[in-house]
Amino acid sequence: MTLAFVGGSHRTVPMELRERLAFSAEQAAVALRRFRQRFPGREGVLLSTCNRVELYAASEHDSEPPAPRQLVDFLAECRGIDAALLAPVLAGENDQAAVHHLFSVASGLDSMVLGEPQIVAQVKQAWALAQEEQTAGPLTGGMFQAALRTAKRVATETAIGRERLSIPSIAVADFARGVFERFDDKRVLLVGAGKMAHETLRYLRDAGARDIVIVNRSMARAEDLATRLGARAARFSDLLDELVRADLVVSTTGATEPVVTLDLFTGAERRRGGRPLLVLDLAMPRDFDPRIGARPGVWLYSIDDLGAACDANRKTRQREMPGALAIVEEEAQRFMGDLHHRSSAPVIEQLRAGWTETGESELDRLFRRLPGLDDTARAEIRQSFQRYAAKLLHSPLTSLRNESHSGPPHGLLDALRRLFDLKD
């Protein structure tokens, strides 16, 4: 065993305990320093996000990494939590299972929102912090680099992170951007102050929207919200005029009857000069009479319409899961194969050195017996010897590499040691 991890995520750890277990960047740095003192010579990387806390440990050569139980105790100690509380909710894995887990996490396959991309940056940060605190090493380095490579493959070769899942992001990216090319010259009208208004406005601002007007039944509330969002407040009685001027309406009132009836809209429509109007009706019950959506130049989307697009995207992500898992499996096997192959490096080096030494002594003997050879001939002969040795070594090295794919090639290494009298 050379790799290990313990940790818990939103799947296993209750939220209250997860909050207590979470590490800030400073706390993670302190924990890694403590790890270095507690487990000298071992590598450690701490990944702490809002949904998971995981500690990866590794050890090169023949020493073992800390046992999972020790890692649980360490996490409990760092966060001042009773280890007995943590042990039942944290999971631990070794070697290939640990690698497989990290690759899945980095690819967003273990995230609360399947395929979410932020985890890649969090994995990078965790690795960078471990490097800063000098708890990272060649094993965890290789593992985390391979994890990031896997995440990139999953992102490019599957559509698992491609489709958006939140209603405001879909409303803006898939629908508003489908209608309008730019938003900096558009008037955005916010009707009401429902909970989704903030997030939708955030996406619209990111898209370039600057001219935002808020209309609410309570003028004080509208002004308060306008101040916070850097927008302008208008009276509810001016709704018709604002509808005339608006290019995009986000409506989130708590009204029980439609706020914008067909008659009201028809009055505004005549004065709009044929400009298209996009309406994101995020209220329930709806603020806009659905018949308005049938008017030419009007693109009306209710929360159900956007929810249906969310569901379709969620299903698309789920459909990509088998392909993503296959990539993770392939990369994990490749990484473990390389890791196992590394364990055979000392034997290969000894073997190579022994053969080189024998070859050199034979060459010296040959050159002494043939003193008339010039430098060119000597170089040719030396090169032939080296090629011959390399060809003889090729088959055993290939066998070792192939054997590494299914685990550490202890049997072959032992056979090589005995056959060629290599010392440990």
Binding site: T156, E157, T158, A159, R162, E163, R164, I170, D174, F175, R177, G178, V179, F180, E181, R182, E269, R272, G273, G274, R275, P276, R295, P296, G297, V298, W299, Y301, D305, A308, A309, A312, N313, T316
Partner: protein, 314 residues
């Protein structure tokens, strides 16, 4: 190098465009990490081969460069292919090639069916001939670009009306951008076609003044259909301008752009398969020349025929 360039054939770049088109089409079927690079690679290779082919012809043809119907179609195809490549690189998530490359391949096909003989030129008519051809080329390319944008507008509007998220690998530009592009293309097409027609009249007048033509052949089918095409494009541009302030204006503009492409296609087919005296030698009598696979739709009316043909009495 010259030997390599001289071996480039139409098949080379047509095949490259066809592979790029197949790559574009496969977007709808499966995802691939390298498809974009392969697609751009083949399209760029096609444009390069196409450019070298035209350059070689321009440098080695004895007549005025690129002055045959064959060259005209290939030049139009080249402009569209360059536009397609540029738009694909600038908007990698939009399947521009899926719309543009079929037009490129159609124009290459039309080139293969048309005459390679250069239109006869004299120093006096060269300038007006070039102006006439260039305006007609600009009009045709503008119609093609406008129709593609119009088609994209209708697809995008259909998707938004069905309230569906964009399909994988099939993300269209915004309605606003497409409507603006369609409208501008219609205006450019109308102005360019009108200028092309007017310069054609001037060209014929110059020929007549120099005694190369007895009279301007106003009733020639090519002139008639060119006149009809110009009339349609100008009408379409006016209709589009009138519709632009109506809520359903963008849809009307998109539909008009498709009709314009239809009218242009009919005009090209008429030019390929119809009969005309357009571009045949002056003072020639007898039956109309046979099809016109030898004729070009938007070409200069010039006094001498490229080659003797059955049915043409000299």
């Amino acid at each position: 190098m010259a030997e390599i360039v001289s071996r480039i054939s139409v098949v080379c770049f047509a095949a490259s465009y066809a592979v790029a088109l197949a790559c574009e089409g496969s977007r709808l079927l499966f995802r691939s990490g390298i498809r974009g690079a392969v697609m751009v690679g083949f399209a760029a290779a096609g444009v390069l081969a196409h450019t070298l082919f035209l350059g070689w012809r321009a440098a080695n043809e004895p007549a005025v460069p690129l002055s045959s119907a064959y060259d005209w179609y290939l030049l139009a195809a080249w402009l569209l292919a360059c536009g397609s490549l540029w738009l694909t690189v600038a908007n990698p998530r939009t399947p521009t090639g899926l719309f543009m490359l079929p037009l490129v391949l159609s124009l290459i096909g039309a080139a293969e069916m048309s005459s390679r003989a250069p239109f006869p030129q004299s120093p006096a008519t060269q300038v007006w001939g070039a102006i006439h051809g260039s305006f007609n080329l600009a009009a045709s390319v503008a119609v093609a670009f406008g129709a593609i944008a119009g088609m994209m507008w209708l697809i995008q509007a259909g998707r938004l009306a069905r309230k569906q998220a964009p399909a994988q690998g099939f993300r269209m530009p915004s309605l606003e951008k497409l409507a603006r592009f369609t409208g501008r293309s219609a205006t450019i097409a109308a102005w360019a076609a009108a200028a092309g027609f007017a310069s054609g009249i001037v060209l014929n007048a110059v020929n007549r003044q120099q005694g190369l033509l007895e009279s301007i052949p106003w009733n020639d089918p090519v002139i008639l259909r060119m006149g009809a095409l110009v009339a349609w494009l100008v009408t379409a541009a006016l209709l589009e301008r009138a519709a632009s302030r109506r809520p359903d204006g963008p849809r009307t503009i998109a539909l008009l752009s498709l009709v314009s492409l239809g009218v242009l296609t009919l005009s090209i087919l008429w030019g390929l398969f119809g009969a005309s005296r357009h571009g045949v030698p002056p003072r020639q009598t007898g039956p109309l020349p046979m099809p016109a696979a030898e004729q070009v739709m938007l070409t200069v009316a010039l006094p001498t025929a490229p080659a003797p043909r059955p049915g043409v009495i000299r």
